[in-house]
């Protein structure tokens, strides 16, 4: 399951009654800097409806002319901090926020990439090919026998292999560069003509790489270079190779990499899980 669960502080840039509005350029600079550090920021101005608050602590920033008001949540559930930012430069405001956060952990951009498949359920036919294809148990089956992404953290960063073999173009990776894997619209006519048919049992049996390569040589997709069994093979292989090649990976992780025998077992297990789910529909 997900392990990076540190939620960012919600910062309110307050510019209402009792405060002085920042110049637009400074406002933008402050917001960009805070966002690039991973904070969520609300600009309190006019007109639009705010998003309801959750249970996180709030930090209210405003040019209060010297003294930030002490605020208390009427429900007593949310801690509210206020800070005066009068005459502070954007960099100093960011430092103030960081200081206020202290040593509370928070996810930060640059240290981790949110890379995981997103299923487009308007296209997914619940065929379970992704469940069978992925070697890292990213996919699972819900209580009502629907395919779902269950283990985001198991997904190998920059590996979109499963999306290339999805026959319905239903798997997206929003951080991917090219379409339709990045979520771009699917050309329906091309998709119908070029559905990639993958015999999972043959892919996963024996030497999966040579088997898949043989198949992809015979199969030339006209639909898109972004969706091919050949590319899927290469990417899955790269993921494994990289894990092996990175010297910092502990021995126990190396030992957990699927062997051919394990892959065969996974294939059988996935096949059984998929068959059970499909039979139950």
């Amino acid at each position: 399951m997900i392990t990076h669960t540190h939620r960012p502080l919600r910062v309110i840039l307050y510019e209402g009654t009792g405060s002085i509005a920042l110049p637009a350029e400074a406002r933008a600079k402050v917001m960009m800097a805070l966002l690039d550090k991973g904070y969520t920021v609300t600009r309190s101005g006019q007109g639009a409806s705010p998003v309801p608050h959750d249970d996180r602590s709030l930090l209210v920033l405003g040019a209060f002319e010297g003294k930030a008001p002490a605020l208390e949540d009427v429900t007593g559930q949310i801690m509210i901090d206020t800070r005066d930012i009068t005459d502070l430069e954007p960099d100093a405001i960011v430092s103030l926020v960081e200081k206020t956060r202290g040593d509370k952990p928070m996810n930060e951009p640059g240290k981790w990439k949110p890379w995981f498949p997103v299923i487009d359920y308007t296209r997914c036919t619940n065929c379970m090919q992704c469940l069978s294809f992925c070697l890292f148990d990213v996919y699972g089956v819900s209580e009502d026998n629907k395919i779902q992404v269950q283990n985001n953290d198991n997904c190998k960063t920059n590996c979109p292999a499963c999306s290339r073999v999805c026959p319905e173009v239903a798997i997206m990776f929003p951080k991917y560069q090219g379409g339709p894997i990045n979520g771009d619209e699917v050309n329906e006519n091309e998709a119908k003509r070029e559905k990639i048919k993958v015999d999972i049992s043959s892919l996963l049996g024996g030497d999966i790489y040579s088997t898949l390569k043989d198949r992809s040589t015979a199969f030339k997709s006209r639909f898109s270079k972004e969706r091919s069994a050949d590319k899927a093979l290469d990417e899955r292989k790269k993921c494994l190779t990289k894990l092996v090649g990175d010297g910092f990976i502990p021995a126990d992780v190396l030992a957990s990499l699927p062997s051919t025998d394990e892959i065969l077992k996974k294939a059988e297990a996935a096949k059984a899980k998929a068959a059970a789910a499909l039979a139950a529909q």
Binding site: R7, A28, M31, T42, W112
Partner: protein, 108 residues
């Protein structure tokens, strides 16, 4: 601007797949306006963690989101257990210009 609209801006801070020129210009134009708006560092990061704040966002009746491909954004919310309402308007900073996005966000 409609009094009931909620504006959300995604910075895509964790992977930088949204062109920086577009996202900076959109944020700059929002800051030049008088409107209230919400910003998040990265919707993908929030979806990965099933952040409860996505539920709060999805509960907004008249939502306008500046992020990336609409199909991906809807999928992220759905996968996190907080499907977006049908009428949520999603602007794509990967393909649209900053002007197009900002005008749609701030329209009356």
């Amino acid at each position: 601007m409609s009094s009931s609209a909620t504006i959300l801006y995604c910075r895509c801070a964790y992977a930088q797949v949204v062109p920086s020129g577009v996202k900076n210009e959109v944020l700059g134009k929002l800051c030049e306006s008088a409107a209230s708006f919400e910003t998040v560092a990265d919707l993908c990061e929030m979806a990965a963690h099933r952040d409860p704040r996505l539920q709060a966002i999805a509960s907004c009746a008249n939502l306008r989101i500046a992020a990336c491909y609409p199909r991906a954004v809807r999928g992220l919310f759905q996968q996190a257990g907080s499907p977006l309402p049908e009428n949520a308007e999603i602007l794509n900073m990967r393909t649209q210009t900053a002007t197009e996005v900002t005008e749609a966000l701030l329209k009356s």
